[in-house]
Subunit: 370 residues, 2 copies
């Protein structure tokens, strides 16, 4: 049955072929550079898509919250790392999860490791998050006093094991020179490894961001890469040069509810609660909340003349439509929207529909059925 016939309201489509190709490509890149690929599952948040990933040799993943980790636990992963500064209010849940699922957490201060050392009842690994210039979170790369203190406190607990250092160089998202950022990040991780590996011979270093992992050609002696967004990609990644539009693996299917030819506008049911509100800026200063694709039986097609979502409210999406699009669309038809930020769209939608018409799970489990 054509997947389109089962869609009545906004629905997030996934093209399994594109998604698998993205995973395979990154797995091959990791292998080429002798890195272990440990993808950040904040984007996909899905057990089923996790099964696809394991077919490409991926054994460990990363979550961005303990809720995500709980959702993904005991579904076949050798290790789930929670790459968010650990929240000590969640120690009871961590103890519960760690009984059956190998798990590691991220540490950025001494107070948190102290609370873990005091209250853990199950084995838990940890990575120290390092700030090498992004400035969002992490121990400053040269704050050895803090790193030493974290390691010393951890060594008092039989349940804590130090795994290594983690850097998310998020400034690759807004600074043009990704090679320079990677150079600095490599140097920071190499320096830390040299300093601590005599004491911790198995320590690993990890870098994690899609723009950098997609384009970098030199990873030095970094051990692991942890990008997330690459499983789906999106328009922001196209703008950053990480991928092509045809690499985007998800599209929001939306019903057309009105057409205003005199303004070249198409109104669809598809708003901020579906797409989320991330946007790009067009050359003329207008906002772009997503680009239109034509839904076909076996996937979607990027039209030659571009149409995009120029404004959005809670449920409304207003499309600036090309003549070509206006001429082919009727009220009641479906259009597809390539998202600007697929992680947020997937989280807002909470489920995927495959092109063969099957529902694919997402941690938020908000499948659109009534």
């Amino acid at each position: 049955m054509d997947y389109r016939s089962q869609i009545t309201s906004p629905t997030l489509l996934i093209d399994e072929k594109i998604c698998r190709a993205n995973i395979q490509k990154m797995a091959e890149k990791a292998e080429l550079h002798q890195l272990e690929l440990i993808p950040h599952w904040k984007t996909a948040q899905s057990k089923k898509i996790g099964e696809w990933a394991r077919e490409y040799g991926i054994r460990k993943i990363t979550a961005s919250s303990i809720r995500q980790a709980a959702y993904l636990s005991n579904s076949g992963w050798e290790l789930i790392h929670i790459a968010f500064p650990f929240n000590i209010r969640e120690i009871p849940l961590l103890n519960k999860l760690a009984k059956t699922q190998p798990i590691s957490v991220q540490i950025v201060n001494t107070y948190t490791i102290q609370e873990l050392a005091k209250n853990l009842t199950s084995p838990v690994g940890f990575m120290i998050e390092i700030d090498a210039g992004y400035g969002r979170t992490g121990v400053h790369m040269s704050d050895f006093a803090k790193i030493d203190e974290i390691l010393q406190i951890a060594s008092t607990s039989e349940h804590l094991s130090f795994f290594g250092f983690y850097i998310h160089p998020g400034h690759t998202y807004y600074k043009p020179d990704k090679e320079l950022i990677y150079h600095e990040t490599r140097q920071a991780l190499a320096m830390l490894k040299t300093k601590y590996e005599s004491q911790y011979p198995n320590l690993v270093t990890r870098i994690g961001d899609t723009p950098g992992c997609s384009v970098a050609t030199d990873f030095g002696d970094i051990d692991q890469m942890g990008p997330g967004n690459f499983v789906f990609y999106d328009l922001m990644q196209v703008e950053l040069g990480s991928c092509k539009k045809s690499d985007i693996a998800v599209a929001l299917a939306v019903p057309v509810v009105d057409i205003v030819p005199e303004r070249n506008e198409i109104l669809v049911h598809g708003g901020g609660v579906h797409l989320a509100k991330d946007h790009l800026i067009e050359v003329d200063g207008r906002k772009n909340f997503g680009e239109i694709v034509i839904l076909k039986e076996d996937g979607w097609e990027i039209p030659e003349s571009r149409s995009f979502v120029k404004s959005i409210s809670q449920e409304h999406g207003l499309i600036q439509a090309s003549e070509e699009l206006l001429n082919q669309v009727q009220v009641g038809d479906l259009l597809g929207i390539l998202p600007v930020h697929s992680c947020m769209t997937a989280d807002a939608m909470g489920a995927y529909l495959s092109l063969s018409g099957e529902w694919i799970d997402h941690a938020e489990e908000k499948k659109f059925k009534v």
Copy 2:
């Protein structure tokens, strides 16, 4: 038990007293101006909060999607109006709902009413949405040919009843002169009423937007008001002059995971998937994704020195903290965040926790438990 002790991860708090006061105030204003208050439930999306509203004489509500209407149906409402251009793919669901729940839909074109006339099997009311200057959606106020054609097609169906005209003057959100917008809207509705009331003696006119309904003093002979956001209000409404900060009825409780005193920063678990990404712009050009309040046993307190969320990612919120806040906060504490756009925050969170520690339902039903 103190509600704070049950919070381990980001949780949307509701202060029932503030929420009830907002509903009561708007109900009194409606009564004063001889309007029927039919609130837009896109903000609250809750059956329980609906029970509170009925205590203030509210009998009918509005939904922004058929899913919301389905969620709210058969929970005590005399009528649910779906204030979104009707999506003909949802006719089967509409027929199902309309069997047990009085329901009305919104019409902006002839094709949709034609499809309804052909395929309805249960009685359904409709309002024609009018565009009187906002430009998002609706039949232009002077397009009588289209209005007449819609009414003519509807009259061929025994299931369709015309209820009246609906205007959402959404430009009150970004244009300063709300009185002028209301003047134009009143005139448009009065003109349409005069023109069509001989044929439809029971037709009503409705206006719906929180900024206007909060501050307008002249509603002319408009029959109904349909604001939504006022049940909670938010920082955007404070900026628009609709309310005071102390009128905001919801706050996101977030755990503190790191403190960086040298940068006056506090990192919390609370990001775009919790707050959504609407923001205000500070006078110095920085973004403001929400303002910090101090959580007390019986509610929250607005501190004298202001702290706000200056950047946000999927799960991270980075707070620009005042000295006062830095001096009183520890890793593991909870802070409150007043949202910039409460409709989006409530939709993202999918549940409320009351100050007495009870969970209150939301249509998205994404209660934060694992």
